[in-house]
Symmetry: C2
Subunit: 320 residues, 2 copies
């Protein structure tokens, strides 16, 4: 059961090929690296009769300490039905999470509320502290920006190096701008805000960022599950634009010829795991990864591996 | 088993929602329309120990008339192992297909050879007459072009109306240029050739067409299965460009504001089934379908439904 599900190549799970070394150092390797999970380690997390996440068995047993909030059963954890509104649910869960934080069981507390739902456009069932989202295996949304420059020499992309003091993936390469999507702020508004904070991009310029698709993945971590969605934006920048990190989250910025970006994504793990996928999506849409690429369709489909994983999960539960 | 597999929404197969009318007249409806199949109606088609397609049971029984070519068993049809080269396989299969054509069992003979393989970049196991490809459930590849014009009023797209004498989908709306991918011609070379034949686009201009991704689907027809892949290209055309159908395959061309294209794809079935998906992919990549769309992720994933279907099929055969 402990399989890495992304796709199949010649009837073999892609993970098997990766293990055999035959596709090491490839775009698909980047996709596989961020899609590792084992459903058997999780039980469903349900709110109002609807599954909105996945909880590790050990964490489920901890949640059993709040029987008025969490109904813990062998196959699922449900929020108490008596919590009948988003407000009531959010408050009750927050209280339990604060205790867990004080016990050191939730690290990296952000004081930032994320929506708990199954799709971005859905009214949230509750709001939950960002740091707890992976513990409940709830989808986190993010917005990432491909910032690029075009001139007679071709296309260049702005790349950020994450601050060494970041909680997650310190020192790794990142998009020019990237941020989590908190509750109560539109995607574009969040992108414009992040553009200023992370790279000093003025709102008038940031407004031109265009939504161009999404990538998704499903990754088991020591904490829980991250079945996340990143909404991708493209923004062409003027040649004289120079990014400035206003919030100190980026250590440095580089303007790289696209060939160097391609090589770095394909042949190294220098990019933060999910940021590599955002670059790969850009390379497909701009023709830098061409359809003659042997694993072209696996790459495209692998960029939406969360959707495939959730469909597979639904089919296991209900093998109609 | 007779389900339409595209994805799940709130735990319900999308097809159920469609049937309930709650998503009729939507982008997702266009995706569902081209993804209908029932695995139970097919057996595997194998060459050299590898599955390359799907054959309807009734057609398998017909193929049993050529025991030196097709080994017909209850769960699969295999090409005889003695046919050890692409040349030998292609010749033996061609002979059988010619008989079937003469009996009227293969309609629309094209005298055009398609590759039989599992991915575009793979060396074909054999070449097969285009008209027979769906009977063997082999992936057919195509190249479609989004031809568009940008000016101060926004984006306009060139749309073709297929000739009323076409064998498939007469009178339906189509991309400016679209064609099947024969064996022995590169994708870009095929696109350039089709650009001239279908719309009178000069090679110098057609060369600028950029590969931007792909869509795939899996559709059962009265003949067999079409688990097809279309490679999408974008080409920005000068405002004074006027298409001319050189081969008579297009009845008319229209230059439509993108809003009219959006409305037509979303609310009608005027487009040829697979062409609607190529438009939807364009709309996603250009921000006209935005991530706030309620079924955004289902749309993205649904545009690669063949990949999901084949992964599901592989899992059924080998439920690891």
């Amino acid at each position: 059961m402990g399989r890495t599900a992304v796709g199949f190549h010649e009837g073999m799970p892609v993970a098997t090929l990766i293990a055999s070394g035959s596709w090491l150092m490839s775009f698909l390797d980047r996709i596989c690296a961020v899609n590792r999970y084992d459903w058997s380690g999780f039980r469903a997390f349900r709110v109002a009769g609807v599954q909105v996440g996945f909880v590790k068995h050990a964490f489920a047993e901890i949640l059993a300490r709040w029987p008025a909030v969490f109904h813990v059963e062998a196959t699922q954890v449900s929020l108490a039905d008596v919590l009948g509104s988003p407000q009531a649910r959010s408050a009750a869960v927050r209280e339990a999470l604060l205790s867990l934080r004080d016990e050191g069981l939730i690290k990296g507390w952000r004081d930032e509320l994320y929506p708990v739902n199954r799709r971005y456009a859905e009214v949230p069932y509750l709001l939950m502290e960002r740091a707890a989202i992976p513990l409940f295996g709830v989808c986190a949304y993010g917005v990432h920006l491909n910032g690029f420059v075009r001139d007679k020499d071709g296309l260049q992309m702005w790349i950020g190096r994450r601050s060494l003091t970041k909680f997650s993936a310190p020192g790794k390469l990142d998009q020019l701008v990237a941020g989590g999507q908190p509750a109560g702020l539109g995607l574009k508004a969040n992108m414009v805000k992040e553009c200023w904070e992370e790279a000093g991009i003025a709102p008038e310029l940031a407004q031109r960022a265009l939504p161009v698709g999404a990538i998704s993945y499903c990754r088991e971590t020591s904490q829980g599950l991250r079945p996340d969605v990143i909404f991708n934006f493209d923004l062409e920048l003027p040649p004289d634009f120079i990014p400035v990190s206003m919030d100190g989250e980026m250590e440095e910025f580089y303007l790289w010829p696209i060939e160097k970006v391609i090589e770095t994504v394909r042949e190294t793990d220098a990019f933060k795991l999910n940021c590599a996928l955002v670059v790969i999506d850009f390379l497909v849409r701009r023709g830098f990864i061409a359809p003659e690429q042997p694993d072209y369709m696996e790459i495209l489909h692998g960029l939406l591996a969360r959707e495939t994983a959730l469909a597979e999960y639904a089919r296991r539960r209900d093998p109609g």
